[in-house]
């Protein structure tokens, strides 16, 4: 894991790191030139000799870079940088492209969220299949029955398993006892009503 972070840090500062390596190798050459001079060579000859002994600096820098970069990662990184440069060059195009993508993704997400909560996700109650819709004539969609209702609620979801001790969820009612639990503003209340008739939801 540490190796991964070291790699990442190298990638982020790769141009500085490469410049440092070149400087380091140049310092190496200078030290060797000094050694040649101490051996009695003229400064100019020593410089030549030290450069000859150095070998291929570009190759050394390349090899050093290959140590840090996994080939594919390096390629992807170069692609990303090229893409960013391209976008910066034509900012209008970039803005339109980003806007289109953002709008498309946003609308898709919103629509799917609605679709998911209306159609796909089951009601948050135990055994939703046993629920029935209780209505006084005008019909409301099931999903709205448990959420915000006006005080004069005209529909409620019925669950046969409801007993007097609990009225959780405010939209359960017992079809057997004839009492219903109706949403009324922020409060829940159990009411008796013979006018309500259960119907399949």
């Amino acid at each position: 894991m540490n190796t991964f972070f070291r790699r990442l840090r190298y990638l982020l500062q790769s141009s500085r790191r490469e410049a440092e390596l070149r400087e380091e190798i140049e310092a190496h050459r200078a030290l060797r030139q000094g050694a040649f001079e101490r051996d009695g060579l003229e400064p100019e000859d020593a410089a030549h000799a030290s450069r000859r002994a150095l070998g291929n600096v570009a190759l050394a820098v390349d090899d050093a870079r290959d140590v840090w970069t996994i080939r594919t990662v390096d390629g992807v990184w170069q692609d990303v940088r090229a893409a960013l440069r391209g976008l910066r060059k034509s900012q209008g195009f970039a803005l339109v492209a980003i806007g289109t993508l953002a709008l498309g993704i946003g609308v898709n997400t919103a629509l799917f969220s609605i679709f998911s909560s209306l159609i796909l996700r089951p009601l948050p109650v135990r055994d939703p299949g046993s629920l029935a819709l209780l209505t006084n004539g005008s019909w409301y969609p099931c999903a709205a029955a448990g959420t915000s209702r006006p005080a004069t609620a005209s529909a409620a979801l019925l669950s046969p398993s409801w007993t007097k001790r609990s009225c959780a969820g405010s939209y359960r009612a017992s079809s057997r006892s004839g009492s219903a639990c109706v949403w009324e503003g922020m409060n829940t209340r159990a009411t008796r009503s013979s006018a309500w008739s259960p119907m399949p939801c």
């Binding site: 190298y10 310092a27 030290l31 070998g55 050093a64």
Partner: protein, 112 residues
């Protein structure tokens, strides 16, 4: 052996082992490492820069050495390498592995 500019002149990993060993005696820059290897091996091991610096980078990547800029004896900026604790541990492990390897090779060469 000549100028070892390609790692294939040595057994794989040997150059790293030699660098770690060289740094046991304290911080050194690249040229210092090369000179130490040359002198300690009676002029046999002459490591070229194109082998040395990639090897040093591998050691940096693995976290076995760390590098700091300092001033060299000719008053230039030079990068000094020091052994880390993990590098020290690695040196012991690689040394044992190297002995095992050389022993095995000699055993093979000794068979008739």
């Amino acid at each position: 052996m000549g100028l070892t500019n390609t790692p294939s002149d040595l057994l794989p990993g040997t150059l790293e082992l030699l660098i770690l060993k060289t740094l046991m005696n304290g911080a050194k820059h690249g040229y210092g490492i090369v000179e130490h290897l040359r002198l300690a091996s009676d002029d046999v091991l002459r490591v070229g820069e194109s082998a040395l610096y990639p090897a040093l980078q591998r050691l940096l990547l693995k976290g076995w050495v760390k590098a700091e800029w300092g001033t060299s004896e000719n008053n230039r900026r030079a990068r000094y390498y020091t052994l880390t604790a993990r590098g020290r541990k690695q040196l012991a492990a690689e040394r044992a592995e190297f002995d095992r390897m050389v022993g095995a090779i000699q055993q093979v060469l000794g068979t008739t």
